[in-house]
């Protein structure tokens, strides 16, 4: 029996995020720390992009960034400023989808036969956005681009993946 280690799994999403961020913005994200979060609720300011997944084990990934960083991401990706907040959300959904896809590929390689599949991405903005998941372990990775902090957050049920 092998349990999925959520603390290890969250790191599988870091490199895809750094790669996509570099491709979109030409800038480097620097790893600033990993923390386990207690409690079921998260309160996050700015924009939150989310993708959930299912297969032999289930969970969800979110990427949280400030509104200004999300706006810059949109502009870098599309070459022009967003004309609405909704356009910014759509760019962040694409970011989450690419990061989620990259991370799940790594997890599917490590846990052969897991058949992990992504649901479509979603994104939200509010001050703050509160998110709750139940019965899952939650790990947060902090990354920095200059003064900006980007959060990568994985909630997962650590089930048998043997």
């Amino acid at each position: 029996m092998a349990l999925v280690d959520a603390r290890k799994a969250v790191m599988d999403f870091v490199e895809p995020l750094r790669q996509v961020w570099a491709d979109f913005t030409g800038r480097e994200l620097v790893l600033a720390g990993v923390e386990r979060l207690d409690g079921k609720a998260l309160s996050l300011n700015g924009v939150v992009a989310l993708v959930s997944f299912s297969g032999r084990f289930r969970g969800r990934l979110l990427v949280n960034l400030s509104k200004s960083a999300a706006g810059r991401l949109h502009e870098a990706a599309l070459g022009e400023p967003a004309s609405s907040d909704e356009e910014v959300l759509l760019s962040c959904m694409e970011l989450a989808n690419m990061v989620g896809g990259g991370g799940l590929t790594a997890l599917n390689d490590r846990y052969r036969g897991s058949n992990l599949r992504l649901a479509p991405p979603s994104a939200f903005a509010a001050e703050p956005v509160r998110l709750c998941n139940f019965g899952m372990n939650v790990f947060n990775v902090l990354l920095r681009d200059g003064e900006e902090t980007i959060r990568l957050n994985l909630a997962m049920k650590e089930e048998d993946a043997s």
């Binding site: 939150v48 989310l50 959930s52 907040d85 479509p120 979603s122 903005a125 998941n133």
Partner: protein
Amino acid sequence: VIDELRGAVVSVLSMMGVPASASAFAERKDPLHRLSGDMAVLVGIVGTKKGILSYEFDADGILSVLRVMAPGMELDPESEVAESALAELSNMVSGNFLTALGSQGLDITPPTLVRGRGLLGVANTAPAVRVLFPLPGGNLSVSLSLV
């Protein structure tokens, strides 16, 4: 598909003791799966089709459901117990919906509850069908988008 979704919602709500009238649905199509309230539970669909189910309770709808699910208790709608109950209800409806579809190769993802004052939300870039279920004293809006 929407008939199966209606059936799953009514079946689970009835099982929990929440009266939901099968004859009072309102249905709308949206070009993009947007969230329209301050709170929603999202459940993903993966497999041979991908999609999102969103469950949006208005404030009175939340109270209405909680009163039935926890009789005699005055739960704060923003408490962890209340949020857990709403997430579980949404999870059960989603599971029943996939079972009713009889589709092999489809699975659901864990429910995520999202909340925020003046929340701006896009649940999916695909078009959505939104079905409004009147509850005693409130409403539940369930949207489905598939790609």
